[in-house]
Amino acid sequence: MRRRNVRHEVGALLLFPLPAVIIILVAQAFPVLYSLTMSFRDWALASSLTPGGFVGLANYVKAFHDTVFLHAFAVSLQFCVAATLLEVVLGFILAYFTMGESRALRVARTILILPMVIAPVANGTIWRMILNPQYGLLNAILSTFGARGPDWLGNPVLALVSVIAIDIWQWTPFAMVVFCAGLSLIPPELYDAAQVDGASRTRVLRSIVIPYLVPVIFIVLLFRIVDTFLVIDAIYTTTFGGPGFSTNVVTLYIYWQALRYFNISFGSALSWLISILTLATAFTLMRAQRRLQSSIWGVTQ
């Protein structure tokens, strides 16, 4: 009965997504598929105003021989692993320590999430000033201890460390709020039972809190792995890939290829390689998360 009722409404229901679908097709599907076709052609704006002929997989093959791209890939991986790990660990610690409903804790949580909602350009502005070797806050603080601070964004190794730190500053709050939500979903009876059994705090953490949080950890990983691997904002607004190629991450390299050198085909091929990788990662993590969610929480969501 209900089924039939819904069936005759399919036509009307199909109209609901129509405006959204049109916008997505025009502004997302078209550009993405256009770049796919471009990746099989030969088009560099510097030499021709119109796309050239089909070249098969040549652009993709070229990517694997491009040492700058391979280097950028390695930089992105380092950025991704270091930033994600630290954000997850710090985010968990902060969530665990700010658990509770007292006024002070609520205010603390509100303050701690602020970095996450500010514009990347503002974030870049703040950190370029703090890290400025001559007039910056960080080196001013170091000098009061008699230490001479380095040129944070001018040294290849320190620049990478710095941009990772900037990402951690901005995105640890994300891990924190997600963990806060996860912690609040743990049934209070479990804590009560643990208390009756006289379990220690670390025991509760190990046997109740962390196992219950596993699906939530996967959500944090899903978002942070993909976003740190594709990072561009924090770098575009501070080092712009430098000094040299030390902070040149893949997304920034694609930006250079496509929007500065106008190697449109090559840039498209690179972005498709990266897209396939991130989408596969996202898909794997989502599947794993769903499986864990239903096995641990025992509910289908």
Partner: protein, 280 residues
Amino acid sequence: MMKERSRIYVSVRAIVVAIALVAVLVPFLYLFLNSVKIEREFRSIPPRIIPFVVTLQYYADIFGRGGQLGSYLLNSIIVTLVVVVVSVFTGALAAFGLAKLRRMYRFIALAVYLILLVRFYPKVVMLIPYFILMRDLHLLDTLAAVVIAHSSIGIPFVVWLMIGFYEEIPIELEESAMLDGCDVWRRFTRVIFPVVLPGIATAAIMTAILSWNEFLIASSVVSINAKTLPVLVSGYISDKGINWGPMSATSVVIIVPMFVFVLFTQKYLVRGLTFGAVKG
């Protein structure tokens, strides 16, 4: 013994949270101080962190005739408002249809997952083709170009978020409206929509944050007239000199509205940030 350990725990906890609060607040405070600090104090060695002389000159400059921040601010406000209205309206509508249809047809369930992919691919992919598209539509350097791009990123997010909210509504609510003879549209506007208002609020605020802060796509399709605030600030980046005053003041203008937003949205922030995957 237990009490002893607990006291250590409490103090460790207080110290860690205090350090985190300082780490978050000091950069913001520093930005604010720089926006009211005169140039001589930036450049003194060692630099003066807390200004001796306070000036509002930079704010006067950026809003004044030379800076014209006002018109960029207006651009940003218009773009954000239109993006919020378009994304939330079309997204909430789409999600209602898709929430039902995806249970009936596998290909629609698949299409819903395809929408999710918009969140996880590098946005640099769309820059050139989108630029070409806007050029051919004669929309370069217009607010419409920015609005369409931001909406296309905002909508997938609203759809996912709202599907979650719709599925929490007990089916009986809609069934009783059905028995009263309400058609789909009336059920949506009269029965369902009022119930999911918290979801709508979450969606609106998250898309507002997205659009207000976004600069990469915006900067690729605007040049002069349609600049938004983030595009304006990104112009300071190539600047090697210490033009910190105006840069800080403009950044303060960008940041403050988002702080106000967070105060109102905290409750739903998690759900919004995770595409509805974690319910706070």
